[in-house]
C-alpha cells in the first residue's frame, strides 16, 4: 500500500510540474463567413507541433516555452496565414482565413516586368503550371486546346507550325529558310527552331501567350505574337514534386522536380520529364504500332544571389525524342485533272496494290519506309538580373542546339515510290539580349533592349530523297514506254548539302507614359538588321546510269541538280502606338496600331522547275510587312471574375507562304509571296470563381483570314494536271484558320478533407475544345478541308495541399475521330494523308508534393 501511496504522491507532484510547464494556445478558425474551417491545420513554425481544427472550428496547441513564436495556419481553398505570438493570449484566438475564391491576380512578365495581366494593354492569355499539370497539357499541341487563338500543326517536329490568329509561320510543311512569326521564348531565351514547340514541357511555372505583333517588347521579332514560357525557378526553400501517370496505350509519364539551397547564396533546381506511349497507328507492313511517344527531358538551374539586388541564373536543358512517330494515314483520294492513267487509283491498280483501309479512323497504315523522328534540343543560358534604380537590367546569353534525324514515308504506301526521305539537320544558335525594364520617372516606365542572334543551320551531312522502283509509275507524265525502263528510277535520288547562316540584330523599346491616372500612351519602336547567307547544292545520284538523252530528260523530270548561293541583308524600322484608357479601376480599354516585319526568306527545300529549268529567281522571297490594328477591353466586373474582349485586324503584304507543287523534287513545297493577306477577328474570354468549390473559364475566337491578293498561287491538289499550274486565289480563305474556336472548362471541388493523413480536396474538372472546319491546303481545295471537331477532357480525384494526390483522367473522352491536318502526298498523284487526332486516352496520375 505504501508503494501505491508513494506512486500517487509522485504522480500528483509530477502532474503539478507538467501542468505548470504546459501552456496551450486555443482558438477558433473560421472563414470570412464565420463558418468553421474543419480540418485546417495549425503548426508551430519550425517544429513538428501541430493541431487540426475540430468540427467546431476549434484547436488547442501546446505553446513552446520561448516567446515569440509563429503559428502557421492553412486550409485548402484559403490563404495561409502566419501569426506571431508575442504573448500567450488569455482568450481564445479568433482567426479568420480569407478565401482564395478571389481570383488570384495573374502576374505576367510579358512587358518584361511583373504586372497584372488585366492591367496591361495587350491581349494575353495565361495558363498556369498547375493547370498544365492537371490537364495533362504537357506540350504546346495540348495547350492550344486551352487557348482558341492558337493553332499548332505538326506533321513532324521540323514541320511544325505555331500560329496565333492564323498567322506566324507557313501552313503545312516548314521551310527552314524563313523566320517564325510567333516568338517562342523559354525563360527569356528565344528558341529559333519550330521543333522546340513539340517538346514536352519541363517544370512549367506559367505560359503567357501574347497575341498580335510584339516586336517592341521582345528581342526577336514577333509578327504574330509570342509564347512567353516561364519555368519554375530555383528556390532557397526546399521543395520537391514527383508525378507519375499511367494510361491506356501503354502511356507512362514521370515528372520530378527538386529544389533547395546549396548555401547562403546558391540555390538549385533539377527537373525531369519522361513520356512514353505505344503507337496509336498500326503499320501492316512492319506489323508494328507506330506513332508512339518516347520523350525525355531535363533542366538544371543554379541560382547565385550575391545580394538582394542581383540574381545570376545558369540554366542548362536537354530534351531527346525518339519516337517511331509522325506517320500519317491516307485520308482520301482526289481525282485530279490529269489523264486517267495518272490517277492514283489507276496507278496502284497497275502496281497491284491497294490501301490497307479506306477509313483513316481504322488507324491502319501500310508504309514500307521507316518512320523516325530523332529530335534533340538543348542549350545553356546565363541570366543576370540586377536591380538598378527603379528597374531591372537583364542580360541573357544563350547557346542552343537542335539535332534532327528524321525518316519519312512520303508516298504513304508500301510501294517503293519514295524509298528515302531524310532531311537530317544540325542547328546552332547564339543569342544575347540586354534590356532595362522599369520606371524612368513617376509617370514614365518601359523597356529598352538590344538583341543579337546568330544561327547556323546545316544539313547533316545531306538531305536525301530517294526513289524506289515504283517511282516511274507515279511520275509517269506521258505514255512513252521509256518510263518503264528497268531500274531507271531505282535508287535515283537527290543529295542536298546546304548551309544557312544568319545574323540578326535589333534595338527595341516600348514606353508607357502615364499622361493621367487613367490615360496611358505607349509608343514603341524597333530597328532590325538581318543578314542571311545560303549555300545550297543539290546533286542527283543513282538510278540507271545512262547517256540516253531521252532517259536523262525523264530523270530530270523527277529530280534536278540545283545550286545557288545567296547573301542578303536588310534593315527595317517598325513600331507601335497604343493608347490605353481606364475609365474605372475595373475597366481597361486600349487601341493599338503597329507595324511589323519578317525578314527575307530563302528557299531551302528545293526549287520548282519550268520546262526543265530550275527557277532560281524563286530562291529568295521578299520580306513580309505587317500592319495591325487592335481594340480591346479588359474588365473585372467583380472581385472573382474577368471578361475581356478584343477586336483585331491584320494586313500582311508579301505574305510568306509555303506552297505545294506536283514536283517530287520539291515534295515539301517551296516558299512564295502572296501579295496580301488579311486576318480579322474577335476574341472573348472570361473566368469566374463562383465560390470555393466552383470555378470556370471560357474563351471563344472568331477569326476570318483571306488572301486579299494571291494571283499566282499553285493550283490545289484536285486541279493538278489542269491547264495551268497556277491560279488566282485572291479572296479565298487562308489555310489553318477555323472561323470559330472555343475553349470551356470548369472545376468543382469539395470542402477540405483529410484522406489517409493528406489534407486536400476532392475535385472534378473538365476542359472542352471546339474548332470549326478549316482549309488544310495553302490553295483552297474542295477536298483538303478538316471538319470541325470537339474534344472533351476530364479528370477527377483527390488533390492534396501537400503530400500525395491521386486522380483519374481521360482525354478525348468521347473518342472523337478528327484530323489535325491534311497533306497531299508527294507528286500530287491524288492521295492525301492526315495527321490524326489522338484517340481516347485515359489513366491515373499520382503526384507527391513536398
Amino acid at each position: 500500500m505504501k508503494k501505491i501511496l508513494q506512486f500517487i504522491f509522485v504522480l500528483i507532484l509530477f502532474s503539478d510540474v507538467v501542468l505548470a510547464q504546459q501552456r496551450f494556445i486555443k482558438g477558433v478558425i473560421r472563414d470570412v463567413d464565420d463558418a468553421a474551417l474543419v480540418g485546417a491545420t495549425v503548426v508551430i513554425k519550425g517544429t513538428s507541433i501541430h493541431a487540426i481544427v475540430d468540427l467546431n472550428g476549434k484547436f488547442s496547441i501546446e505553446a513552446p516555452q520561448q516567446l515569440p513564436f509563429t503559428l502557421q495556419i492553412s486550409s485548402v481553398g484559403h490563404k495561409a496565414q502566419e501569426i506571431q505570438i508575442y504573448e500567450l493570449p488569455e482568450e481564445p484566438l479568433d482567426i479568420k482565413l480569407a478565401s482564395d475564391n478571389v481570383l488570384s491576380e495573374v502576374v505576367v512578365t510579358a512587358r518584361r516586368r511583373e504586372e497584372s495581366a488585366q492591367n496591361i494593354p495587350t491581349p494575353i492569355t495565361v495558363v498556369g503550371g498547375p493547370m498544365i499539370d492537371d490537364a495533362g497539357a504537357f506540350n504546346v499541341n495540348r495547350v492550344k486546346e486551352l487557348i482558341p487563338s492558337v493553332q499548332l500543326y505538326s506533321s513532324n517536329p521540323r514541320n511544325t507550325t505555331l500560329n496565333i490568329r492564323g498567322l506566324g509561320s507557313t501552313f503545312g510543311l516548314t521551310n527552314d529558310g524563313i523566320d517564325p512569326g510567333v516568338g517562342f521564348y523559354v525563360d527569356g531565351i528565344y528558341y529559333a527552331r519550330p521543333a522546340a514547340t513539340t517538346l514536352d514541357f519541363i517544370d512549367i511555372e506559367q505560359i503567357e501567350v501574347l497575341r498580335g505583333p510584339q516586336g517592341t517588347l521582345f528581342g526577336k521579332n514577333t509578327t504574330a505574337g509570342a509564347f512567353n514560357i516561364k519555368t519554375r525557378t530555383a528556390s532557397f526553400t526546399p521543395g520537391a514534386n514527383f508525378e507519375v501517370s499511367y494510361g491506356n496505350h501503354g502511356f507512362i509519364q514521370a515528372k520530378a522536380s527538386v529544389t533547395g539551397p546549396l548555401g547562403k547564396k546558391f540555390a538549385a533546381r533539377l527537373s525531369f520529364s519522361g513520356t512514353q506511349r505505344d503507337g496509336v497507328l498500326y503499320n501492316v507492313s512492319t506489323q508494328k504500332p507506330v506513332n508512339d511517344l518516347n520523350n525525355l527531358g531535363w533542366r538544371g538551374q543554379l541560382l547565385f544571389k550575391p545580394s538582394q539586388n542581383v540574381n545570376i541564373t545558369l540554366i542548362g536543358d536537354a530534351s531527346r525524342q525518339r519516337p517511331d512517330g509522325y506517320a500519317q494515314v491516307v485520308a482520301g483520294v482526289v481525282p485530279t485533272q490529269r489523264a486517267d492513267y495518272r490517277q492514283f487509283e489507276q496507278i496502284i491498280a497497275d502496281l497491284n496494290y491497294d490501301l490497307p483501309s479506306r477509313n483513316p479512323f481504322d488507324r491502319v497504315i501500310d508504309h514500307n519506309t521507316t518512320w523516325r523522328s530523332g529530335n534533340d534540343l538543348g542549350g545553356i543560358a546565363l541570366h543576370v538580373d540586377a536591380k538598378i534604380a527603379t528597374g531591372t537590367l537583364t542580360s541573357s546569353t544563350a547557346w542552343r542546339y537542335w539535332n534532327w534525324d528524321p525518316s519519312n514515308d512520303r508516298d504513304f504506301t508500301a510501294l517503293p515510290v519514295l524509298a528515302l526521305s531524310q532531311a537530317t539537320s544540325k542547328h546552332e544558335q547564339w543569342t544575347q539580349e540586354i534590356r532595362y525594364a522599369g520606371d524612368f520617372s513617376s509617370r514614365l516606365s518601359g523597356v529598352v533592349g538590344v538583341f543579337i542572334i546568330g544561327q547556323d543551320l546545316k544539313t547533316d551531312p545531306f538531305h536525301i530523297e530517294e526513289s524506289g522502283s515504283a517511282q516511274w509509275r507515279f511520275s509517269q507524265s506521258t505514255t512513252s514506254p521509256l518510263w518503264e525502263t528497268p531500274g531507271l528510277f531505282d535508287g535515283y535520288g537527290i543529295r542536298t548539302k546546304s548551309r544557312l547562316q544568319t545574323f540578326g540584330a535589333a534595338v527595341f523599346g516600348q514606353l508607357d507614359w502615364e499622361i493621367t491616372d487613367k490615360l496611358h500612351l505607349l509608343p514603341g519602336i524597333r530597328y532590325n538588321y538581318d543578314k542571311k547567307e545560303v549555300d545550297f547544292d543539290r546533286q542527283t545520284y543513282g538510278g540507271l546510269e545512262t547517256d540516253d538523252p531521252e532517259l536523262l530528260a525523264l530523270k530530270r523530270l523527277v529530280y534536278t541538280d540545283q545550286a545557288f548561293t545567296a547573301d542578303v541583308d536588310d534593315t527595317n524600322f517598325s513600331g507601335q502606338l497604343t493608347l490605353s484608357y481606364r475609365p474605372t479601376k475595373i475597366v481597361n480599354t486600349f487601341i493599338t496600331y503597329s507595324t511589323s516585319y519578317k525578314p527575307v526568306g530563302i528557299n531551302l527545300g528545293g526549287l520548282p522547275t519550268a520546262s526543265g529549268e530550275v527557277l532560281i529567281d524563286l530562291a529568295q522571297i521578299k520580306p513580309e510587312s505587317v500592319t495591325h490594328f487592335e481594340f480591346g477591353v479588359k474588365t473585372s466586373p467583380s472581385h472573382n471574375s474577368t471578361v475581356n474582349l478584343t477586336f483585331h485586324h491584320t494586313n500582311v503584304e508579301d505574305f510568306q507562304t509555303q506552297v505545294q507543287t506536283a514536283e517530287v523534287g520539291v515534295n515539301r513545297g517551296y516558299l512564295a509571296n502572296a501579295e496580301e493577306v488579311r486576318v480579322l477577328g474577335v476574341e472573348l474570354d472570361g473566368s469566374m470563381r463562383i465560390n470555393d468549390f466552383f470555378s470556370f473559364y471560357g474563351a471563344v475566337a472568331y477569326t476570318d483570314g483571306e488572301y486579299v491578293s494571291f494571283t499566282n498561287a499553285p493550283v490545289p491538289l484536285e486541279e493538278t494536271g489542269g491547264p495551268s499550274a497556277f491560279k488566282d486565289i485572291s479572296g479565298s480563305d487562308l489555310p489553318g484558320i477555323s472561323e470559330w474556336a472555343a475553349s470551356l472548362g470548369a472545376e468543382l471541388s469539395s470542402v477540405s478533407k483529410k484522406v489517409i493523413g493528406q489534407e486536400g480536396k476532392y475535385f472534378f474538372a473538365f476542359d472542352t475544345y471546339y474548332r470549326s472546319s478549316f482549309s488544310s491546303s495553302p490553295s483552297p481545295s474542295n477536298y483538303l478541308n478538316v471538319d470541325g471537331y470537339a474534344v472533351v477532357n476530364a479528370r477527377a480525384g483527390f488533390r492534396a495541399t501537400e503530400g500525395l494526390s491521386l486522380f483519374v483522367w481521360g482525354r478525348n473522352l468521347f473518342d472523337e475521330d478528327y484530323f489535325e491536318q491534311l497533306l497531299p502526298a508527294a507528286g500530287n498523284a491524288g492521295h492525301y494523308a492526315a495527321v490524326m487526332g489522338d484517340p481516347r486516352t485515359y489513366g491515373v496520375t499520382l503526384r507527391y508534393t513536398y
Partner: protein, 315 residues
Amino acid sequence: MKLQLLIILFLISISLYAQSDVDASRSYKNPVVIVTGARFSYKLVQKWIDDFNKVNPNIQVIIESRGSSDPSQYDVLAEVYEHDPSIKETREFVYVGRYAILPVANDRSEFSRTYKKKGLTTELIKLIYFNDVFADQEKAAKIKHAYTCYTRLQKAGVARVFAKYFGFDQKDIKGNAIAGSDEHLLKAILRDSVGISYLPTPLIFDPLTKRPVRGLSILPVDVDGNGKVNDEDRFYSDLPAIIQKLESTNPKDIANVPIEYLHLSVDREASPEAIAFLKWVIEHGHEDLNDFGYLKPETSRLQRDRFEEFARGVN
C-alpha cells in the same frame, strides 16, 4: 487506510490550490480601483496613479492586464477608440488626451529609405497597408522594395482606428498578424529588417531622447492632403516637433494622420474611489500628456463639466 486517503485528498487539495487562479490570493488593505485597457496607455496611467497616490494614499489604484472582455470586471477602462453608442450610454467618459497614428518602418530597409524620402500619399497608404480588391495594381506593382506589414490579430484600438480612418476595417489590414499588444508590433518591426506597421505616437518615441526609437523610421505622409509630400509635411525630427505641428493645426486640415482620444471611463455604478481617480485625472492628467507622446485634447471634447455633474450625482 483512512489516514492514507486523507493524505491523498490533502495532497490533491494542495495541488489544486496551487493551480487555482491568483484571484483567490488577492487581498488589499485599502479600497482598490482596478484599471485596464489599451496597453500602451499604461505608462501614462501609472504616472497618474503614482501622482494620485501622493495625495490619496488610502485609495489603491492598480493596473491589471485585461483578462476578460467583460468591462464589469474592472473599475476604470482606459481605451483608445470610440465605443459604440450602446456602450457609451452605459458608461461615463473622460476624454483625457489624444494620440496620432503614424506609419513606421524598420530603418534598415530599402523601403524605409525610399519612402522616407518620397513619403506616403493616401493612395500609397491604402496600397501598402490594406487589402483592396479594386486597388490600382499597376501602381501597386510600382512599389518595388520588399516590405512586410505587421498588424494586430485580436481586436485592437489602434488597428481599428487606423483602418477606419482610411475607410477599411481592421480585418482589411494586410500582412502578418501578431498576437500581443501594440508594443509587440514595435518589436516585430525592429526584428524584421523589412518590417513596417502603424504605431501610436506614445510608442514611437524614446521617452528619454524624445526621438524615434532606435531602428525605427517614421514615414512622412501627405499631411496637407495636396496629393504630394512636401517639405512642410516633414516634421518628424522629434516628439515636440510633431506635437507642436499637430496641436497647432486645425484637425480638419490634417490629412492621413488618424488622431484619436485616450479616454477613461467608468460604469454608472462606479465606486467613489474610481470616480475620485477620474476627477483627479481631469484636474491634473493633462500635465503629463506631451511628455508621454500624447496631444492635448480639443477644448470641445473635455467634457469636464458633464463628468463632474455625474460625479456629484453619484456622491
